[in-house]
Symmetry: C2
Subunit: 392 residues, 2 copies
């Protein structure tokens, strides 16, 4: 088909770099730190199986019929109750919209808020799923460099001062790809700046419950929700396969537009799965389940960090995550992570070169390493292989 | 939140008229012909329950993990095999993309093909879910009047001649809202015109398997797929709650863009449900199941048509569907279906006034009646009530 039939929107949307990378990892022999898959222990198989039975037996046809766009009310009430308890928030079920994974929330946000060339702030490096989703609506990206405790506040204020920014997207806890967590001080400053410059704060928190110290950090605007959109998901704590996430939007007018966009996007999210997740939450000790995931990831992360400290040359720096699924490494200036990736491929070990996490698609000297899906032995062996390449 | 923060795209997207209408029908006493819900007998509850067990026991974590954007390969192979057999087509699994209901397919088509002000042909009256999805991308709608055997061919050719049309969207079988089915002759003419004017044909076939005579009519471009996009769904034959539909796109380049848009929209559709639907197809006599739905709807439709013939004044005309879920009635010129709706509300009977099925949002003298979700007694009683209003 002639390319002139394709919308400009689609012509400028980058296909996922990672999906390409992942092809390499299909080879069984390859040790892959490239993906971002939760460890299968995080799927409570038997409990979910019981829930599927129970919801069919209890609700019958309702779990198979069309449903409301906003989502299953009891599930939304359960989410509100849990967040209110964990983070001392005061959200209501009405302010929650169930989405087909957080990815859909990102698409809806771009759709409802971005006019072509609107200024949008993202982290640098930033989550590539968000960069991809927003790109479709052709914004003007304003990347703010990440430091070890969050966005560079000076840059952020300068950028907000000089531009009419539609919204700022950030991942405050154990960010993807960097593993960085925002300090309490920067959280206060960012919230103040967002309010001062009337910039919508879009906070994505897929990893918040995976804090290694078990201490929940929560959302920057948890206690000042006006003008913010908060995202959450069940993908990292129960199952990503059911594609269930949620948005918290206090502003009623904005919520109405998002609801209409959601309706046009898929009418509503899978209601059978919404019943299952809700039933699972009601009948199982989800906190104990999450603690188990948290402890596994903490140990895997520690193994990778120790191996990197031992086998990587000193010039290679890397983050020390307090939770989540990723470590971010930086090679000496001028070195290409893509070239390293090619060499690593030959040694049967994979990671994600930093390139797709920058809106300018630069040739990066950074890389993302995932530790949640490999045994301790494989983590050590994989890091040894990369270390060998780096030291020769 | 200030409206100037909302994208133009969202400002021009109509919220669903029907969702509003449906509020009326929440009242138990109201006889509703307004919805478009499949009859619950179409949900094979027990078989689906068995399938949930089997796929969890057989595939374990795989059914809960992230999956590929295009969808579960065995499911796509099953869809291809079934369509190839039913309609003597020659599609491959590779040409099929699983979507989160057909609604998502409509959104992806608008996203990937429509630039603002692009000319898009729709049926008049047309499916409002499509009008809503496409509206977001701000096309110039070119509605082609529907006759009892399909689009007005003269109007269609004139329109194709005078405009550079990006694509034409139509529902060839038991159309929503009209219940109209395209004649073999018009199918040939439309295919020829689409090819002559290089216009992409988007064919949506949610009701194709619900033909009252059991004879499958299939897609207009079934044997000339280049330059066409075909849609299908499990919503009317197995369950709408799982939100699973599919797109058939032969053109590899177009498929690549749609796949990227799908990835940005929700990464992939619910994989647990994809396994369930596939397992259901493999282990159950789906044809017998569909025949049961078909026969129920045929009888319900007959009851409504007979009642309309008996209780509606002669000046009110209506379609005689050969399948599907809807009858379309036309009041004498100048009469308002919306006013009729208000009076009907008082008599505790509901339907959908024609307004939202026209891209110009006109005050229509037409209405859509759904017969799949009411008992024969309720169908007769509801038509009697509407008839009374029409005759007084």
């Amino acid at each position: 088909m002639n390319e002139n039939k394709i919308s400009n929107r689609s012509l400028v949307t980058p296909p996922s770099f990672i999906r390409g990378i992942l092809k390499v990892t299909e080879n069984e022999e390859v040790i892959s730190f490239a993906g971002g898959l939760p460890n299968p222990i995080s799927f409570p198989k038997e409990a979910l199986k019981e829930s599927t039975q129970r919801v069919i037996d209890t609700f019958g046809s309702k779990v198979f019929q069309y449903a409301s766009t906003a989502g299953l009310l009891p599930l939304r009430e359960g989410i509100a109750a849990r967040l209110n308890e964990m983070y001392e928030m005061d959200i209501t079920a009405e302010e929650i919209l169930i989405t087909t994974g957080s990815q859909q929330a990102l698409d809806l946000i771009g759709k409802v808020l971005i006019n072509q060339d609107d200024a949008v702030i993202v982290e640098e490096p930033g989550y590539l799923g968000a960069i991809q989703a927003f790109s479709q609506y052709q914004p003007h990206f304003l990347p703010i460099p990440l430091e070890n405790d969050g966005m560079d506040i000076r840059e952020l204020e300068q950028t907000l001062k000089e531009n009419r920014v539609k919204f700022a997207y950030l991942v405050p806890n154990y960010q993807n790809p960097s593993g960085v967590t925002y300090s309490d001080e920067k959280r206060k400053e960012i919230l103040a700046l967002a309010r001062k410059y009337d910039c919508i704060l879009v906070e994505d928190d897929p990893y918040g419950e995976l804090s290694f110290d078990g201490k929940p950090r929560g959302y920057i605007s948890a206690h000042d929700l006006e003008g913010s959109i908060l995202l959450g998901t069940f993908s990292k704590t129960v199952t990503p396969g059911m594609r269930l996430g949620f948005m918290i939007v206090r502003d009623a007018k904005l919520r109405k537009y998002i609801n209409t966009a959601k309706e046009a996007a898929d009418l509503h999210s899978n209601i059978f799965s919404q019943y299952i997740i809700w039933d699972y939450m009601m009948h199982n000790p989800i906190e104990a389940h999450i603690a188990q995931i948290r402890n596994l990831y903490k140990a895997q992360c520690q193994t990778m960090l120790s191996a990197m400290a031992e086998y990587f040359p000193k010039e290679v720096t890397f983050t020390k995550p307090a939770g989540g699924m990723f470590i971010w490494a930086t090679l000496p200036k001028g070195q290409s992570a893509m070239k390293l990736f090619e060499k690593a491929k030959a040694e049967k070990v994979a990671f994600v070169p930093g390139n797709p996490f920058y809106t300018d698609g630069r040739e990066a000297n950074t890389l993302r390493l995932n530790y949640t899906n490999s045994s301790h032995e494989m983590i050590e062996e994989g890091i040894i292989r990369i270390g060998k390449i780096l030291t020769t």
